[in-house]
Amino acid sequence: MTNERQLIARAQKGDTAAFEGLVNSHAQYVYNLALRVVRDPYEAEDLSQEAFLRAWRSLPSFRLEAQFSTWLYRIVTNLCYNRLPRLKRELDDLTLEEDALDLPDNRQNMESGLLSKEMKFHLHKAIDTLPQSYRLLITLRHVQAMSYTEIAQATGMPLGTVKTGIFRARSLLRDALQEYEVSNA
């Protein structure tokens, strides 16, 4: 992380090699976040490149005490909102769910034996079919391993909306899993 701070500080002074180091370490996550939301590899590539371009231009105003990845994902999310107006509407329209508000913010380490290959494949397919707003939240939560607060910062959404979105996404995945178990019983 110290290394990242040094790279950011150098990039803020206009060092393109330092910025290339930052691009190298974040490119795959940025690209995958865009890909999960827009679902088109070419669109995702263009969007990710645009995000890095904007990050480079706004880097002088970035405060070093903030989390660089959260700031970067905020740029990606804003670009997604611009290109997919429905995405912002979907998130804005989420009505708060009481059960979602007491979701614990911890992640568990699980044994992979709990999930068969077929079940995993079925769940991955179910993730792909989630509404784009849920895909965005789920990706930030599980692929980028962000806390609910960080997701709220990255999406510009209230914490309750973030928790509700993730809660509903998980409910849909739970339904998909139960459906799979019934069909394979």
């Binding site: 795959q28 590899p41 699980m110 079940m119």
Partner: protein, 132 residues
Amino acid sequence: MRDFNPQIDMQIDLALNTYPLAPLPPGFIKHTMGRILPKPRFHLEFLDLALPAFIIFFVVIIIGLGFWLVSSLNPIWLLELQVRGQWFARNMNLFPWGLFTFVGFAGVCIFLLFGLGLALALDRPIPLRRSF
């Protein structure tokens, strides 16, 4: 009320955490940095000045040589040239103009191809694409 089965929740977590990351498209970093790095500013190089200077010099020499030849010609030769010119004007329709046009056009094409070959050999952008 929530009636979650912890095992199902764990399975969902596992599926979410093992969702594979797509590989980056080829050349992604290079293309991204290509959009970030400032484009080199256009500036004139030696050949940009030397080539037009050579062409102007060559044209001036040819025109000067023509004037010098006409002014230093023997008056009898000059008279003969005038006679030939009059004969040419009278018999213009006898000449194969189609062939002349073709030869001229072929000459221009060969000149352009030579220029293009030279531009590529020097690995420089084709002059038509350059903006001043």
